[in-house]
Structure formats: structure tokens, C-alpha cells
């Protein structure tokens, strides 16, 4: 549920990014209005889109993996591999989450501002990163429990990125 809410946040970030850049170029050529720092806002929206989209994309098996060995294994072996992968990934992602919050806390403590025309307190867009990565850790933990409880592999196939 939380992962899905975050994902919707990602979709909203996409809409914001689209609206802001489209208005930016429209304003520049018509001269009717000026959109400030559209590049910076676009960058923050991208970060929000990515980090908030992570947990749900993972759950929906949108993370690609190499299937040379994995896809040839029996389901029970695949489940065992997934347990190992989830534990490893969880350890790494908890580390990422911990240092993300440290990084955000630093921006907050030192009142860091963005460099552009529109001065934004950096911790505000950065919170999306902390929230996204933390939810991703939860999602990994939930996946681990699911595999352990049902003994079924998470699945996911060799996919293409583009």
C-alpha cells in the first residue's frame, strides 16, 4: 500500500516535470511569462520520480536480472537464491537509507540552499530520496518474508531496459 502511494507520488513528479519544462519553453518563446529554474525543478522531480518509484517497481518485478543460471534452476532453488539475494540487497539498501538520512540531516542542519534563482531548502526535495529508499528497504524485507513463508521464488525475468 505504502509502496503504491509512493509510486503515485512518482507519477505526480513525472507530471510536474512535464508541466514545468513545457511551460518553461512556452514562456521563453511567447515571452508571456518566465518559469524560473525549470532545470533545477526538473532535476528534483526526477529524483522524486526515481526514488519514490523504486519500491513499487521492485514489487512488480520491474528490476531486470541476468537469467543465464537463475531461470534454469528449479523453483525451490530459485526461492533459496532469492532469500540470499534479498538478505544481501537488504543489507546494502539499509546502508543506503542510513547514509541518505545522514545526508538529508546535514542539508537541514546547515540550511543548505539550492544554487539556482529559486532558492529551495535542499532537504525538502531530498526527503523524497530518504522516504523512497527506506520504503525500498521495507519492500525488500517484505519480499524476504514472502519467499520464506511461501517458498516460492519472486520471479521476474530477464528484461530489457530499453
Amino acid at each position: 500500500m505504502l509502496a503504491f502511494v509512493a509510486f503515485i507520488g512518482g507519477v505526480v513528479a513525472l507530471a510536474v516535470m512535464f508541466g514545468y519544462t513545457a511551460l518553461g519553453v512556452l514562456g521563453r518563446y511567447t515571452g508571456w511569462f518566465a518559469v524560473l529554474s525549470s532545470d533545477e525543478i526538473g532535476g528534483y522531480a526526477l529524483a522524486a520520480l526515481f526514488f519514490l518509484g523504486l519500491p513499487y517497481s521492485f514489487r512488480r518485478n520491474h528490476f531486470v536480472r541476468v537469467g543465464v543460471v537463475y531461470s534454469r534452476l528449479r523453483p525451490s532453488y530459485r526461492a533459496a537464491m532469492d532469500v540470499a539475494f534479498c538478505i544481501l540487497a537488504l543489507a546494502a539498501v539499509i546502508l543506503l537509507a542510513y547514509y541518505s538520512w545522514q545526508f538529508i540531516l546535514q542539508s537541514y542542519r546547515f540550511h543548505l540552499l539550492s544554487i539556482g534563482v529559486v532558492q529551495v531548502h535542499l532537504w525538502i526535495p531530498q526527503v523524497a530520496m530518504g522516504v523512497g529508499i527506506s520504503l525500498f528497504a521495507f519492500e525488500l524485507f517484505a519480499s524476504l518474508l514472502r519467499v520464506l513463508a511461501f517458498g516460492e521464488p519472486l520471479g521476474g525475468e530477464e528484461g530489457a531496459v530499453v
Binding site: F18, A47, F50, V66, Q102, V161
Partner: protein, 434 residues
């Protein structure tokens, strides 16, 4: 630990995790973290936050989700099918017209989506049943469609080139300019190959399309022109310096909404947005992993030492190029394209630059090598996609049919090596125009 050991450790961890089946993005993050920790202990791990933040707030990258959204809108609105049918009507006099028609359709849709699998799927879903009905040789047709799908990796706007640009700080406008002529040249080579094969073996190309009344032809034009115009508009806006790639992408989204008006329900629009977010997350996830690998390499000094080591061996330019091609063709057997590029770039890019290759030119060569990986087994994803539309064709048959196209891609790399102007001519002219 010396740089050689750290270098070996990094790639050993990546290789073991990837081959075992770990998610690519996470395998890269873990390998990066291990080497950062081994080289400089836990205090350097504090850089994690800034790596995460900085690798994803890059303005160049904001074009990625917008271009994907533009392509998704066009795909979900079902324009690709009509486009292909109209194309086949117009090319009905050409023997085997559906095949060159599908290459043209692939080039155009590849340009809108920047995605090779999506293109192969969109054109293939319509083209495969149609060609089957007309008695085309199906393995040949399937191989053609699989190869045609890959054209999007080169023809701008290409997601792959945007990622290359953000990773190596090469201007994306220059890469887009450099990709156009090689991309069109490759499409042309595909078409010539099809025509030659068809001329010698009429069994390959089935029966001709029956005559079509003028009104149907004109109606078809209504389908073709807006999509082609949209692509030309987006690409020209970037080349002429009217808009940055990101702005052009957002205008492209506006254009796609206009072109598909009346075919796009709110549900379909949400589906397009959803898949844009999911695809972007996947791409940026791997990019983030690659940034960790890159940081680990720079932090341990391994990539500098490796470059010096290669340079000290006095490898000639062409020998190096052949070596890089071999590495990619081998790697392409296991790892899908974007992942392969992002894993290898931190090491290969400095080596290529030290050897005197032009960074823009090198990006184009890498893009062609990724196309090649997409149609060579066992991970040739386009092969699987196309086979999904016609289960009667054996995987091995498609592989064999796609091989000559892989050969044409290698020929293109050779042409690029001997005539770099194929890629760089337009770059010089557009940068003068700007």
C-alpha cells in the same frame, strides 16, 4: 590492496552476482560498496548520500522519462498498427514490401520510443500476423523485425545516448546529431539486404499486396504524416538549438497527446505514465549502481592505473577498437544492453579517450555494439519478443535469420572506424548552426 586486486575484486563480485541472477542494479551497488569499504574503510561510505543525490538530479537525465512517456503515449494509443498498415500499402509495389515497410516503421517508432524492445513489440504485433497471412518466410521476417527494433538505440532521440551523455559528460545534442546518419545508414543497409535477398529468392517475400484504392492510400497518409512530423519536429528542435533535449521531450509529449487525441482514454494515459515511471526507475537504478562502481574505481585509483597500463602496452587504435568490440560481443551474451554499457563505461571510456577516440564518435560505436547484443543469443531480447508473436518459428531459426543483420552492424562499425565523418559530419554542422 593494490589497484589490480581491487579491480579484480570489483569485477569478480559483479560477475558472480550477475551470473547468479541478482538484480543488475543491486549487484552493481553491492560491488561498489564492497570495494569502497575495502579501499578506504567506513568513513568513505559517507559519500553514499551525495552519490545517490547527485546521480539522479542531473538535468540531462530529465529527458529520459519524458521521451519514454512520449513513446508510451503513441504506443498505447495504437498508432503503431495503423502506421505499419499504411506503410505497407504505400510500399505495395516493392517486392516483399512489408519487410522494408517494417524497417521504415521500426525506424520511425524507434525514434519516438528510444526503446528497441518496445519498437519490436509494437511493430511485430501487427506485422507478424500480416506477413504470415501473405505467405512470407516467417523466420526471415522475424529476424528482420528483431533487427529493425534495435534501430532505436541509435536513431535519436535515444535513451541509451542520453545515459552515455550523463555518465561521461558528452553533450547530448552532439550525440543525437552523431547518431542520425549512422542510424539511417543502418536502416538503409537493412532494406538493401532485404531487397537483394528477395530478388534472388522470391519464396522469402510472399505474395504482393493487392492493389489499394487511392482513398485508402490517402487515408493512410493521414496516419503516417503526423507521427513522422512529430519525430522530425522533436529532432529538429534539438539540432537547431531551439530547445534543450528535455524541453524537446516535453514538447514531444504535448505532440504525442495531440497526435493520439480521441484514442487515449484516461486509463490508457495512466498506463503510459505508469510504464514511463517504471522504466525510468529501472534505467536510473542501474545508472545509480554504475555510479557506485565508478566512484569505487576512481576512489581506488584503479581506472587511472588501468588506463595507464593499457596505454603503456602501446595498443594501436584499431587493435583497441577490435578488443572493445570483442569484449562487448562476449558481454552482450549475458548482460542486456544498457546494463552492459553502464558497467563497462567507467573503465573503457578513459581508455578510449586516452587512445585518441572522439568521445562522441565512441558513444555511437558503443550504441551500435549494444544493438548487436540485442539480437545475438542467448540474451538477445528482441529475438524473444518477436518469437512471442509466432510460436511456430523456432528460436534457432530467428537467431540464424538475424545473424546477417548482426553482420551489417559490424560492417557499420568498420565504416565508422574508417570514415568517422559518417557520425561527426552532422555534429560539426549543427554546432556551427547553433
Amino acid at each position: 590492496m593494490g589497484w589490480g586486486m581491487e579491480f579484480a575484486l570489483l569485477f569478480a563480485v559483479i560477475a558472480v552476482l550477475l551470473v547468479a541472477g541478482m538484480w543488475t542494479a543491486l549487484a552493481l551497488v553491492i560491488a561498489g560498496l564492497v570495494v569502497i569499504y575495502v579501499h578506504s574503510g567506513s568513513h568513505t561510505l559517507e559519500a553514499i548520500g551525495s552519490i545517490e543525490w547527485n546521480s539522479n538530479t542531473n538535468f540531462t537525465l530529465t529527458a529520459v522519462p519524458l521521451f519514454i512517456l512520449m513513446g508510451q503515449i503513441i504506443m498505447t494509443s495504437g498508432l503503431s498498427g495503423d502506421f505499419f498498415r499504411a506503410m505497407s500499402h504505400w510500399l505495395r509495389r516493392v517486392p516483399g514490401g512489408l519487410l522494408p515497410g517494417s524497417i521504415v516503421a521500426c525506424s520511425v517508432f524507434a525514434a519516438t520510443t528510444g526503446s528497441s524492445v518496445a519498437t519490436a513489440a509494437a511493430v511485430g504485433s501487427v506485422a507478424v500476423p500480416e506477413m504470415k497471412e501473405k505467405g512470407y518466410n516467417m523466420p526471415f521476417a522475424a529476424g528482420t523485425l528483431a533487427a529493425g527494433g534495435t534501430l532505436g538505440i541509435l536513431i535519436p532521440p535515444s535513451i541509451c545516448l542520453i545515459l552515455y551523455s550523463s555518465l561521461e559528460n558528452v553533450p547530448v545534442t552532439q550525440l543525437f546529431a552523431a547518431g542520425l546518419i549512422p542510424g539511417l545508414l543502418l536502416a538503409g543497409m537493412f532494406i538493401v539486404y532485404i531487397l537483394i535477398r528477395g530478388a534472388f529468392n522470391s519464396e522469402l517475400v510472399g505474395e504482393r499486396v493487392a492493389p489499394v484504392p487511392l482513398s485508402v492510400l490517402l487515408k493512410g497518409l493521414v496516419r503516417i504524416v503526423p507521427v513522422v512530423a512529430l519525430v522530425c519536429f522533436v529532432v529538429t528542435a534539438i539540432y537547431a538549438g531551439i530547445a534543450t533535449p528535455t524541453e524537446a521531450a516535453s514538447l514531444g509529449v504535448c505532440g504525442a497527446l495531440v497526435v493520439s487525441v480521441g484514442r487515449l482514454s484516461p486509463k490508457k494515459l495512466y498506463a503510459a505514465c505508469r510504464s514511463a515511471v517504471q522504466t525510468t526507475t529501472m534505467v536510473l537504478g542501474i545508472l545509480l549502481g554504475a555510479q557506485f562502481v565508478s566512484f569505487a574505481l576512481v576512489n581506488s585509483g584503479a581506472n587511472r592505473a588501468f588506463t595507464d597500463w593499457i596505454v603503456a602496452h602501446n595498443l594501436g587504435k584499431y587493435e583497441l577498437l577490435v578488443a572493445i568490440c570483442v569484449v562487448y560481443i562476449l558481454l552482450g551474451d549475458f548482460v542486456e544492453g544498457i546494463g552492459m554499457m553502464l558497467i563497462t563505461m567507467p573503465v573503457l571510456f578513459p581508455v578510449a579517450i586516452a587512445a585518441g577516440f572522439d568521445p562522441v564518435w565512441f558513444g555511437i560505436v558503443v550504441a551500435v555494439l549494444i544493438e548487436l547484443g540485442q539480437i545475438t543469443p542467448p540474451v538477445g531480447l528482441n529475438l524473444f519478443v518477436i518469437r512471442g508473436f509466432d510460436r511456430d518459428v523456432l528460436h534457432g531459426q530467428i537467431v540464424r535469420a538475424a545473424l546477417p543483420y548482426a553482420g551489417l552492424m559490424i560492417l557499420l562499425i568498420a565504416l565508422l572506424a574508417f570514415f568517422p565523418g559518417i557520425a561527426l559530419w552532422l555534429v560539426h554542422h549543427t554546432s556551427q548552426a547553433q
